[in-house]
């Protein structure tokens, strides 16, 4: 066989490409290797390795940081599906450490306590791909301009209340539809308004979609929530506290995986939603004080 030409790692295409492979799937938060195995057994496309799920971060307070590398490594060793981990917004050294561990994806996450209130990590400097949260199109495009290879709605993590995830997914979709309706000579003004680069605004206006995969996150707790987000146009779901804070994690996780695949088949959704045990208790986001909201971090 003849010699193959050019081989290049860490390109935008392979960073965005892994996210393409996760589409239609569920990424689950896990805090132990055992939970990671349960997630894999349930059919998760990837796991997010962390020390505390968002519901516990919310309840216990304090500064939430990157997880202990020992835990991250143990989870990477326990499963053969991709493993993601979170770094604090703007904490590029936590990101360097996670990359050194060989993690598959970094979530620069508002769930952890931000390390920088002005700047996000310059994600172009890394070979490992990043996913970032967004509440609307402008935020999504700012993160993509910084090098994010995947976007997720922020929702309101650790609440089990899907309302913010819905708001953010609708806001992104509406933002895209609006750009599609604009004339070419109106895009510069739209870019200014969105706080986004004109180049990306043009791309979205012409393609009618984000240039990267867009998952939903932040409050998804039931199969119906997962299917709702899919019907609203997301590419897949992150489920954080919703699984391992429920009564029967394996059963619920399997049901959420099925609901993400068969999101538009109500008969199947009815079947998989049956008898799942107790869902996570949840907190209504409308009862949170402004300083308790995570989604406003790193906009």
């Amino acid at each position: 066989m003849s010699q193959n030409g050019h081989v290049e790692t860490g390109t935008s295409r392979v960073k965005r490409g892994l996210a393409e492979m996760l589409k239609g799937g569920v990424i689950m938060d896990v805090v132990t290797p055992d939970q990671a195995e349960i997630a894999q057994e349930a059919g998760a496309v990837a796991v997010m390795a962390l020390e505390r799920v968002p519901a516990d971060i919310r309840a216990q307070g304090g500064v939430a940081r990157m997880s202990d590398p020992k835990l991250v490594k143990a989870i990477m060793g326990a499963v053969s599906i991709p493993v993601m981990a979170k770094c604090r917004i703007g904490h590029f050294v936590e990101a360097q450490i996670l990359e050194a561990l060989g993690i598959d994806y970094i979530d620069e996450s508002e769930v952890l306590t931000p390390a920088d209130e002005e700047n996000h990590v310059d994600k172009w400097q890394f070979k490992v791909p990043f996913v970032c949260g967004a509440r609307n199109l402008g935020e999504a495009l700012r993160r993509i301009a910084e090098g994010a290879a995947m976007i997720r709605t922020k929702g309101e993590a650790g609440t089990g209340d899907v309302v913010e995830a819905v708001r953010h997914m609708r806001a992104v979709s509406q933002g895209i539809r609006r750009l599609q309706s604009l004339r070419e000579d109106e895009l510069a003004s739209a870019a200014k308004e969105l706080g986004a680069s004109l180049e990306l605004v043009r791309e979205v206006s012409h393609q009618g979609k984000l240039p990267v995969v867009n998952f939903s996150a932040g409050g998804i707790a039931t199969p119906a929530d997962a299917a709702l987000m899919m019907q609203l146009g997301c590419d897949g779901n992150f489920v954080g506290s919703g699984i391992f804070k429920s009564g029967d994690p394996l059963r619920r996780a399997k049901a959420i995986v099925q609901a993400t695949t068969y999101f538009d088949k109500p008969e199947i959704l009815a079947e998989v939603s049956e008898d799942l045990g107790e869902p996570m208790v949840g907190i209504s986001t409308s009862s949170l004080r402004p300083e308790e909201l995570l989604a406003v971090r790193g906009i």
Partner: protein
Amino acid sequence: MTKATVGVLALQGDFREHAAILEECGARVVRVRLPEDLDGLQGLVVPGGESTTMSKLLTSSVLVEPLLEAIEHGLACLTTCAGTILAAREIRDGIPDQVSLDILDIVVRRNAYGRQLQSAEVSLEIPAVGTAPVPVAFIRAPSIEEVGAGVEVLASYQEQAAAVRQGAHIGLTFHPELTGDTRLHRLFLSAL
């Protein structure tokens, strides 16, 4: 020539990208998630995605038996990455009970090149589709460690088979669908 009707297994993964390329090549595309979706197909693309997830969903959707039956009756498969893992006779470094459809007489190893940091864009020499190299992406890719006697190797990467053909079936360990090169899809469609 009448339009070929080709299914794309749409349980999880990048099935949209395959559907777009197949449509560009003039095929009629059906998304397959349930046994009844297999009716009337001449070809089936098993896309990239997470092979363990697709394996679980194949089992829970009761698709394995009808799929194997359709293949016995002449359904040809184009498989990429995770799809090729599912299609293999034997899977190394798989999970317990991982579905092995045994469509291709090959032995694959999951994540053979390492984790995401080893994922790469490659210009791959594939003489069966022409002299110009095909731009493809290997993403947490499997390798094909053994091929049976009836399997033709179409391309290799790092000294292991990366594209194989067995009858009308084609198995790829990489993603041509991410780079927009349509030649491998056309090769598949031409044999239907």
